[in-house]
């Protein structure tokens, strides 16, 4: 926002300058200048050596200073032949008057240069000292409030206990709190009641499931191979390892090392080898269909790109074919990383058996396996691939890390284990920042760096750079303790704020970047499912195991099934499960990449074909159709209705209880009236038409409770369905 205002004022200021006595505000390189240069100059005068024009480089400290006079003349001239950026480059990339002025002022200040913030180590900044000293609960709040006060804003009031418990419970275990949990918090009058509730949530075995959800997207986890016939694989033992690792609070550095190189640890345990399935989650090709070398290169490229996105927050893939245009990542850097992952012998799958070698047997009979990494005895030579083509080998390369980042310690082995240890070396400026930012995104909806997948020069600068650095250094200092980091965040006053705010506040800061209110956004797809099942009592709390196939409309798989020989291949025909498997958490739904679970896809779940670190958050009529008509949600409404019928005698009491189970609060009198009016109307209809009542109750496979009057149960089911469709039901607020 400040940007936009500055642009407007800048234009005016230019007209007035000369006579104006006002001292111009100092230009900040990272904030004001680099974005202009990155967008309009670096393509020809940036890191990419092979395409650099006039040997002029503007992404360095000295380049612009040395070229000062020429540079200013060329950006200011009216002669189209001389003007930079050149006319034929593109009209859109001309500098605006304001941009010229920013560069001039920067030059007048002596062209001070800063390295791109993300490539320099995070430092601990002095904590802000806001005027309001009562509000902050921890250092997060001091940074946040410092900025709010600068903007002339004040934080929102505290959310009430029930709302806060619902928020934290959804964030930390992905489940709605039970009434008992609400009650326990209400009764706990001692100081620190909320903090104790947080500790209970962090100790819950469901915490690992919630965290795995975020990690499965990043790791492109799925239950099919994704190419050709898209047949089945069994990687759920790896998924269960992730759940368990989060539950054990395995420090993030160790979590990293085991997944990237567990097999290379001295005497690796079975679990440590299972962990390496992280880099076997990529798409795997079928037999005979492709050139083996091309397929192999594709796998390695996927591992490099995923590693870059997940740990470094960089779009390394740009450097697969050429030096990166905006970030100082050369093509050589790319293939040096490539060399780390180039030493696995992988077999193709053939669509009939599940996993492709190398695998690790997990059952006594050897039938259950999971895919793992295994190093070849003989190092496979790696080459720079010209234009990224698998068959265009350039110079040989050795494993190595990008030159813009601190070098690998000499004692580290030049293999995946060394790479993993280098990633989590405290001197590496990126992984700690990238991960704490992702935690922040999970809780607050938008990261401190909004482009959580890109910390490079094309990404967004952080909204609160000092806070980000504070959290990153705190994370490392505390031993990469994920639970401790989350605890710090969810016990901050920033998190504690109410999300209701005046319309003007929403209009001024739609994405809540300034954090003047509590987080409020739609739940992720899987959590919407879990919430309905949990409120109704249908949810299975079993953790782990093979993926399951709940209700799904007919024809979803058939549309992508291999036309010939469907019977030969796995995962071509959807055979819906029964019993408990229908009520497992969304995270256990069988994920077929060519036809992902449609009810989850409608709420922006990705296909898992490649790494996703940030889901879009759309709001469409198709989502309404899922919540209104998917048998999962109809059956949940019926079970919720039956549950409250058993618990209360009066209609209003029943409705209020159902409302509270879903939203965490008592309905206001007029809300209750709306719902009980609906009940009465529906009940009148069903009293006259019991067949329809029974038809509705027939949706879903749980037996109908014969002790309940079907007409009343059906009417109440329509009311609980209304409740499950409320904005509040699918929103964390």
């Amino acid at each position: 926002m400040r940007h936009a205002i500055r642009v407007l004022w800048g234009a005016t200021a230019l007209v007035l300058s000369g006579s104006s006595a006002a001292t111009p505000k100092a230009v900040d390189y990272s904030h004001d200048v680099r974005p202009i240069l990155a967008k309009k100059c670096f393509a020809c005068h940036g890191p990419d050596a092979s395409n650099r024009k006039a040997q002029l480089r503007l992404d360095t400290s000295d380049g612009p200073r040395e070229a000062k006079d020429e540079l200013l003349a060329r950006i200011k001239t009216h002669d189209d032949d001389d003007r930079m950026p050149p006319a034929d480059f593109s009209d859109g990339k001309r500098l605006t008057l304001t941009e010229v002025e920013v560069i001039e002022r920067w030059m007048a200040q002596g062209a001070p240069f800063q390295d791109h913030w993300a490539f320099t180590a995070p430092t601990r900044h002095p904590v802000s000292t806001p005027a309001n000293t009562r509000w902050p609960r921890n250092d997060i709040d001091r940074f946040v409030l410092g900025k709010l006060e600068k903007e002339g804003l004040a934080p929102s009031p505290e959310a009430d206990g029930a709302a806060l418990l619902r928020r934290a419970s959804l964030d930390l275990i992905g489940l709605l709190p039970t009434l008992e949990e609400h009650e326990a918090l209400r009764r706990d009058r001692r100081p620190g009641a909320y903090e104790r509730a947080v500790d209970r949530l962090l100790a819950s075995p469901h915490y690992g499931e919630r965290m795995a959800l975020m990690w499965l997207d990043a790791a492109r986890y799925a239950d099919t191979h994704g190419l050709h016939v898209d047949s089945a694989r069994e990687m759920w033992p790896w998924r269960d390892w992730v759940i368990d690792a989060f539950n054990r609070n395995l420090p993030f550095d160790q979590f990293t090392v085991e997944q990237l190189a567990g097999d290379l640890l001295p005497e690796p345990t079975r679990d440590q080898r299972v962990a390496t399935g992280f880099h076997r989650n990529h798409l795997i090709s079928g037999q005979n269909s492709e050139i083996p070398e091309k397929v192999h290169v594709g796998y390695v490229v996927d591992r490099v790109n995923t590693t870059g996105a997940v740990w470094l927050g960089l779009t390394l893939s740009c450097a697969q074919c050429h030096d990166h245009k905006f970030d100082p990542i050369s093509q050589l850097d790319y293939y040096r990383l490539f060399a780390f992952f180039n030493n696995i012998d992988e077999k193709a799958i053939d669509g009939r058996d599940g996993n492709a070698a190398p695998t690790l047997p997990l059952s006594a009979n050897g039938k259950l396996t999971t895919m793992v990494m295994a190093e070849r005895a003989q190092q496979r030579p790696s080459h720079l691939l010209i234009r990224g083509e698998y068959d265009q080998k350039g110079a040989p390369v050795e494993p190595g890390t990008p030159s813009v980042l601190p070098a690998m310690a000499p004692e580290l082995p030049r293999n995946r284990l060394g790479l993993a240890r280098w990633l989590v070396d405290a001197r590496n400026p990126l992984p700690a920042r990238v991960f704490v930012n992702r935690l922040w995104q999970m809780l607050f909806g938008t990261g401190l760096v909004a482009t959580s997948e890109d910390f490079g020069q094309q990404g967004e600068v952080p909204s609160h750079p000092e806070l980000l650095d504070h959290l990153a250094t705190e994370f490392v200092r505390g031993g990469w303790d994920v639970k401790a980091m989350l605890r710090l965040m969810v016990t901050s006053a920033t998190y504690w704020q109410r999300s209701a705010a005046p319309a003007a506040a929403y209009a001024r800061d739609p994405d809540n970047r300034l954090l003047a209110r509590g987080p409020r956004f739609r739940l992720d797809a899987e959590l919407i499912r879990d919430a309905a099942l949990r409120a109704s009592g249908l949810l299975s709390t079993r953790i782990g195991g093979p993926s399951v196939k709940p209700y799904q409309p007919a024809g979803v798989w058939a549309a992508v099934a291999s036309a010939a020989k469907t019977g030969m291949y796995t995962a071509q025909v959807y055979e819906q499960d029964h019993g408990e498997s229908l009520y497992r958490r969304g995270l256990y739904t069988f994920w077929k990449r060519l036809a992902p679970p449609p009810a989850l896809a409608a709420f922006d779940a990705p296909t898992r074909e490649s790494c996703t670190t940030r889901r879009p958050r759309t709001n469409t009529p198709l989502q309404a159709l899922v919540l209104m008509n998917d048998p999962t949600f109809i059956e949940a409404a019926r079970a919720l209705a039956a549950k409250v019928m058993h618990a209360r005698r009066e209609t209003d009491g029943r409705i209020a209880l159902a409302f509270r189970l879903v939203t965490g609060r008592e309905p206001a009198p007029d809300e209750l009236r709306t719902l009980s009016d609906t009940f009465r109307r529906q009940h009148t209809l069903y009293r006259r038409d019991e067949a329809s009542a029974r038809a509705l109750l027939g949706v879903g496979e749980t037996p109908v409770d014969a002790a309940l009057d079907p007409r009343a149960l059906a009417a109440l089911t329509t009311v609980t369905s209304v409740i499950l469709n409320l904005d509040e039901a699918i929103t964390k607020g």
């Binding site: 395409n51 050149p86 209701a500 036809a595 469409t620 008509n629 809300e671 038809a695 209304v722």
Partner: protein, 466 residues
């Protein structure tokens, strides 16, 4: 004035009084400033960057100089795509396909497009489109939203915002996707591209599913009548509207509108998707693929059915044009998927009297290079991304047919006359739809945001207009 505030207040008032919210969608901001020629738009987005050299922009010099180095004077100072940099040379490559001039118009079409050629009198061939971006993601984002960085509103959501809904029972912006037979590219194609950005999110594109049934979960469960559903929805709306009055999150208001739309889609979509009433000659026109849901041909027919019902903006994305290698083989496959259905759509619209007020746009996010990427052999080559010049065509509502606009040099490399930057293209599309590109704006973060950008003014390409 803050339109988002106005809209929200209007919607809430309406909702609170039980008025169908979408009725208010007709209260669109007064941006319509010119006589609309097009009441709706169909964008046939050829995703990946189809080669103009193999389709429309015939260059005899490329054939004559086949295999020779691209002259440095042609290449000039501009950057070339990173993908072919580092290549030992840049040999130009002539198209292996023959071209014919269509008799009525003199427009050239390659042998790959016999059906499209028949529609030449309707087409305005723009040979001089030029884009700043040469990588898929920024180029797509630029084509869709006028900016390379994500976050702006897409063209379909602008048209929806500007014109309002033409049919309360369907989304005003519908997205259909299909996979081509050509290159199996893996470029992401996600909701960011049809997002409404800072515009109210009710204007975002609604994407139908790419395979099988386009819309799932349409039917009410057994035992719930339409009247009961209506009652249930009234309760949802009343409670959500109440919440919006205290929480003020605009997403709640959008959700109310989306529920109302979902309710109406339950009635309108089965009819929309039921091709049973189409006559056999329609299936013959669009081709054999039409009966396969999710194919480009089926989507073309669906596009006609959507605009027929008043949907403002229908956008097809057809994948498979990113032919860095094996171009001759893959482009033939792609044209096999698309040529007949594309022409059929135009013809069908014309027969029904819809073409004169439906603007049809054909094109990709950029074109392809005059020179070869990768190995150049007797019958195989690839072409890299090329943003400096490429061909798109417009047809229908407000557009002059049978003409070409802009010229490129002998190599099809640089624009030599009438360059068309994307903002001019965008301005022209909006103008055809009766919207003034300089006035269609939305106040966000201190700026009047426009599809055509907040910088230099965009030009309407008046010579293309009827």
């Amino acid at each position: 004035m803050d339109h988002s505030m106005l809209t929200r207040r209007a919607l809430l008032t309406g909702a609170a009084h039980g008025v169908g919210v979408a009725a208010l969608a007709h209260l669109h901001p007064a941006h319509a400033a010119v006589m609309p020629r097009a009441k709706r738009v169909i964008s046939l987005f050829q995703f990946g960057g189809p080669s103009q050299h193999e389709l429309f922009d015939e260059k005899p010099q490329l054939k004559i100089r086949h295999g020779q180095e691209l002259p440095p004077s042609v290449r000039g100072n501009g950057p070339i795509s990173g993908l072919s940099r580092g290549q030992a040379g840049l040999p130009v490559v002539g198209s292996p396909f023959s071209f014919q001039r269509e008799s009525r118009t003199g427009l050239a079409f390659s042998e790959l497009l016999p059906h499209t050629a028949k529609m030449a009198p309707h087409l305005c061939m723009i040979r001089s489109v030029t884009t700043d971006a040469v990588a898929h993601d920024p180029a797509l984002t630029l084509m869709q939203s006028g900016a390379q960085l994500p976050g702006k509103a897409s063209i379909g959501s602008w048209v929806s915002y500007g014109l309002g809904s033409g049919n309360r029972d369907l989304p005003s912006y519908v997205v259909l996707t299909s996979k081509g037979s050509g290159d199996k590219d893996t470029q992401p194609l996600g909701p960011r591209l049809w997002s409404s950005g800072y515009l109210p999110s009710s204007h975002q594109g609604v994407a139908f599913r790419a395979s099988g049934d386009p819309v799932l979960y349409l039917g009410d469960p057994p035992g719930i009548s339409r009247q009961q559903r209506r009652n249930m929805l009234d309760a949802v709306t009343r409670l959500d509207a109440r919440l919006a009055r205290t929480v003020h999150d605009p997403e709640i208001t959008t959700r109310i509108a989306q529920y109302e739309l979902a309710f109406r889609m339950q009635s309108s979509v089965p009819d929309l998707l039921d091709f049973g009433g189409e006559r056999q000659d329609v299936f013959d026109l669009y081709g054999a693929d039409t009966r396969r849901p999710g194919s480009y041909a089926a989507n073309c027919l669906l596009a006609r059915r959507l605009v027929e019902r008043g949907v403002r903006f229908v956008q097809l994305f057809h994948r498979g044009w990113d032919q860095h290698r094996a171009l001759p083989e893959h482009i033939r496959l792609q044209c096999g998927d698309t040529d007949q259905p594309t022409a059929a759509l135009l013809m069908d619209l014309e027969r029904r009297g819809l073409l004169e007020d439906t603007l049809v746009i054909w094109g990709g996010e950029f074109g392809r290079t005059a020179y070869c990427q990768g190995k150049l052999s007797q019958d195989d080559f690839g072409r890299d991304h090329h943003g400096r010049s490429f061909t798109m065509w417009l047809a229908g509502g407000g557009i002059k047919g049978g003409v070409s606009y802009g010229e490129t040099d002998d190599f099809g490399y640089n624009v030599t006359r009438d360059p068309v930057p994307l903002r001019d293209l965008h301005a022209t599309v909006l103008h055809c739809a009766g919207l003034d590109p300089s006035r269609l704006s939305f106040r966000f973060q201190g700026l009047d945001q426009r599809l055509t950008g907040v910088g230099e003014p965009a030009k309407i390409l008046t010579r293309l207009l009827v």
